[in-house]
Symmetry: C2
DNA sequence: CTTATAATATCATAAATTAATATAAAAAAC
DNA sequence: GTTTTTTATATTAATTTATGATATTATAAG
């Protein structure tokens, strides 16, 4: 419609899009970089970047005149995380689960076609990136994504699979949509998802969904382990029951019918 | 100046102020709540709240028509945290430090007159709130705040103390500015800060600053322990050397002169 | 040193935001 | 259950703000 949507504040969207640009970058960005990444005119990029800096959400390197995300973004995360009841309840249980075989254990949710990790209980060897909550990855490549999607209504499953951009991470990444659908069906029948070499060639991942009172999944418990320390058979024997038990205990605590 | 600052986008500020309102709330907020908390006209509150919802940063409860922070805020935090080199380097060292006496160990930075926790390595008994990065607290009440401030230039120290709103948390919270200045001087001479019963009546906190190559502090390593499991004397004997060693090792890794 | 690129600053215009107001829905009081 | 109050939603003319073209300055690259 040509007429303005008077309830939508496009300037706010633009500012947030500038912030979002930084999440895919490692290095600091100049005004021109931001203009390119957002598609904005350079004076638009200048105004929004300068405003975010003045509000404290971006840092500016005086020498290079480049910008980087500010710690003030952690404030916004806290806004969400201090109300995250699932993470609060899950935390001690994930810690217990992690002790069993000395593994990392993560809690994650489906957000669009991605998985976001909301609580990471890393083991000693976990890389820094793997310890960060807020990390995103495409759901269809992940055991945890597959097992959440497997416990959604079939129209939603089709919609998510249809909307997903399929990304190949390794030689073994399953990218065929039919094979992905079979993988989803398999997770539904087993009650958990398992994947090997989907995101990195040495990773084996197992996950079980957390279900609400209607049997619909929105979150999962996941354990990543690595070859050659673990093989598929041992993961299936030892870790699958562990994620299942942990997820089920969370489902019962949160959503049991009274 | 009456004339417009044409480089500043006030609409973006307003939108971010709406988000910021939620960080001090536990319960969901309606349009009227947001209008009150921000001072905006209710149609302004409506437009910005609706826009944040449409962009995915707020969730809306259809039944109550109230809003809450969305997990998408974790995206923004990740934007910051995946570039946090100090946290990346510090993480294994804080884990090691925590093993010594089975305590939580935190990394924090000064932000304005507050401390923000950027990395929390909780022990088994840590409360959920204490496990959350992004959490803020007033610097002058905290051993970690005091010890960072103690290693700033004296003009900055005066400015921070002057700008701080003094909050009393317990009967023992030091609120007298002269006493606070003595506490800062004490932290400077000892090289670490220590506090008992400042934030909660049973807490003892000890922290050491991380210094850059000029000897200026911007971050600290902190250990919180609780009475009656710990007393001041044992904290001073056992935990103060531990935070000092950990902080010094980080200072050397990050900022040693070549 | 010169040229190219990026950043910064300015301003007339178009577009967006404001807040007053009307209407609808829900909550609270009776 | 009804009435009143409060909150939410929707609309719009007036006012303010954001846009992008352009000029200027600064820095990087050759």
């Amino acid at each position: 419609m040509g007429q303005q949507d008077t309830l939508f504040v496009a300037s706010l969207e633009k500012g947030l899009r500038v912030l979002e640009v930084f999440r895919n970058q490692r290095e600091n960005l100049g005004i021109t970089d931001i203009a390119h990444a957002t598609g904005f005119d350079k004076s638009t990029a200048q105004r929004f970047t300068t405003t975010l800096h003045r509000l404290g959400y971006l840092n500016r390197d005086e020498r290079t005149r480049r910008y980087s995300p500010s710690i003030r973004l952690m404030d916004l995360a806290f806004t969400y995380s201090h109300q995250d009841r699932l993470a609060e309840i899950a935390r001690p249980r994930l810690i217990e689960a992690g002790k069993r075989y000395n593994t990392s254990v993560n809690l994650c949710v489906l957000e669009g076609t991605d998985i976001i990790y909301t609580l990471c209980i890393p083991n000693q060897t976990a890389s820094f990136m793997m310890t960060l909550s807020g990390r995103r990855a495409p759901a269809l490549c992940l055991a945890e994504g597959i097992c959440i999607i497997a416990f959604r209504r079939s129209d939603e499953i089709k919609a998510i699979v249809g909307a997903s951009e399929i990304t190949r991470f390794t030689e073994d990444t399953i990218i065929n949509r039919s094979a992905i659908m079979r993988r989803i069906a398999d997770a539904h029948s087993k009650g958990y998802g398992i994947g090997k070499g989907q995101i990195s060639s040495d990773e084996i991942s197992v996950a079980a969904p957390i279900l609400d009172s209607t049997g619909v999944a929105f979150a999962a418990v996941q354990i990543p382990v690595f070859q050659p320390n673990w093989n598929l058979s041992d993961v299936e024997s030892n870790l699958a029951p562990l994620v299942l038990d942990t997820a089920r205990s969370l489902s019962r605590t949160l959503y049991r019918t009274t």
